[in-house]
Symmetry: none
Subunit: 197 residues, 4 copies
Amino acid sequence: MQKLDPNKRSEILKAAERLFAAKPFHEVKLDEVAAKAHIGKGTIYIYFKSKEDLYVSLIRDGMSSLIVRLQEQLGRKRRTSEEELRLIVAGLVQFAAARPNMYHLLRTVLPKPCEGQMSLLRRQLVALIRDVIRRGIARREMQDPQPELTGQFILASVRGGMLFGPEKLTADELIEHTMKIFGSALKRAACHKEKHS
Amino acid sequence: MQKLDPNKRSEILKAAERLFAAKPFHEVKLDEVAAKAHIGKGTIYIYFKSKEDLYVSLIRDGMSSLIVRLQEQLGRKRRTSEEELRLIVAGLVQFAAARPNMYHLLRTVLPKPCEGQMSLLRRQLVALIRDVIRRGIARREMQDPQPELTGQFILASVRGGMLFGPEKLTADELIEHTMKIFGSALKRAACHKEKHS
Amino acid sequence: MQKLDPNKRSEILKAAERLFAAKPFHEVKLDEVAAKAHIGKGTIYIYFKSKEDLYVSLIRDGMSSLIVRLQEQLGRKRRTSEEELRLIVAGLVQFAAARPNMYHLLRTVLPKPCEGQMSLLRRQLVALIRDVIRRGIARREMQDPQPELTGQFILASVRGGMLFGPEKLTADELIEHTMKIFGSALKRAACHKEKHS
Amino acid sequence: MQKLDPNKRSEILKAAERLFAAKPFHEVKLDEVAAKAHIGKGTIYIYFKSKEDLYVSLIRDGMSSLIVRLQEQLGRKRRTSEEELRLIVAGLVQFAAARPNMYHLLRTVLPKPCEGQMSLLRRQLVALIRDVIRRGIARREMQDPQPELTGQFILASVRGGMLFGPEKLTADELIEHTMKIFGSALKRAACHKEKHS
DNA sequence: AATGAATGAGTGTTCATTCAT
DNA sequence: TATGAATGAACACTCATTCAT
């Protein structure tokens, strides 16, 4: 799938991203994509198997790079669990802010055969959060009977905030509020500890 | 748009709901809808202006009835803020569980002209939650600097849990976890108060 | 075909006439006709076999009544051939002027099965003119090697004048010019006769 | 709209001409046109905006070329006014005889937006005749108080003759009869002149 | 007789995909 | 490799006609 001029490939992806983010799948015409990418319509089929493949590649590429980046950052140095969580939340928000269409892309329903790939990526992202929480529990910094589900909540909340939050919500505010909610919910209740200590 | 046999209208909506929930907009054929509803294809156009109108009506009707139901329940009797919040969360989950396709419908991107209507409904739902939190703050049962955003978080989290949560997640578990996370995050920190007292 | 309330029948015809005159056959909807006639759509099918039948009846009725009227007028009293011709031309023009859509109707192509009926009526009309000319020739008031074709010319010319003539052309002007052209062309050349006498 | 292989465009027009001449607009299916032209149905939409556009192009092209040809022939050399008139009539008849469907096409009612274009062409054709008559009057070869209307008459008569004339009418007979009628009607009455000389 | 809701065959048009150049 | 003209399967939507009331 990765033939020839990778430059041209990303031209196409860039053009497609804007269009797919702006309208539903069936309203995006490959003619437009080709025009916006300044290439011939046939050329798309050299780099992508089909319209669907183009669409899925778009999302797959974006999420993959996000996951890789987060994994790198997490591995870099030691942090408290809350710091790690903040790192992930900030990564999600900044990623979405930098590629304002990414989340819009995810609104769309995917053709069934692709759901597998996408949910795999989503699961990887959730797993990243879940593992941070699990480590937090192991370190007795956090408590959470359902870390996986909490991962879904965090992902969904950031998405909800980005897509539907107040107009003038800044990235930092979104990060802060997410941390305030989930940070406090996950925090091992201090008073109890204090009581026992 | 509410002509004639409202029974037939429901038949169509019911058939459409199953189909739109199962596949993306452009993969649903009106022939199928007509067949599933046991009516002629042309009949759809008596009750709905277009395929798009059918689709939007589906979502609009569902969300409206949810909002109305929640408003009624909230008004019925006095409750603590947490009980009110639980009422809403339970309402969301039960609604989604009863109409398993509703949330799937909302995944799809809508044609732009409809976004307005939909985001209005979403805002109403969020406002319901926000007002519960505000009242909680006024009653000194809760604290939250961004009740509106928290509303978005709750909505998004329930949705995320329904759509992507663990296979065997029960409705009650989802309600409990949502309340655990958001309930504890919003609770006016007891230990601090105790400290001061 | 002539059932029941003949009043209702002509309501339908009247409504249909305006519509068929205003747009091509396939752009006229029976819904419109029914609405304009203030009757139910199904009622049309009580008075007419089909849309096509309605359309053809419209034209047939109009032309038949024109032919009958002209025949009556011609038979009423003795006239010179030119007076007879003028009678017909005036009849054509006045008929068209009184039912301004009639000629527009005739612009439209008819479904083949109807062509027979229509061309029969046209031929009757042409025959009327042809016979006037023939009688004129017999009376040595006219000369014309092709009276039938001349009949077609006259019919066509009046139609052309009505449909495409100058905006402010009056009925009388059209009659006069038609008579000027065809009257002089058909007139037995006076000078020659005089020469020989 | 004049893209690509103009050969293919002609193929389509040729196929369409036969079909539109044989039946009313709404009975001609684009599937037939494509089949007759030996091209894919979609190809029609590369060369024409719509069924309507195809139809109008057909007529527009034909009439334009007729007008151009007549203008050229008239300019070629000096002629008496009657010769010029005969040239036009012969041109009309031969044109129609060579493209036996052209006049049939014109029977149909056009969608309103196109009427403008068509009546423009008709007016050009009429203007051609009118100017010949006017020149004839200036040269004292002809007399006619309404040259424009006479132009309409001639056009209409030729059309009437072609469409509805006797079965076995030849092109030459039609030309001759048209000239006999209109030639004699327009001729500056010789006897009067002779009287005065 | 009159109605108008229901029907579904029929068709213009689109657009992802192909392939000759 | 790159192209864009050609394709034709696919589909939303229409509307003449029917028929239960």
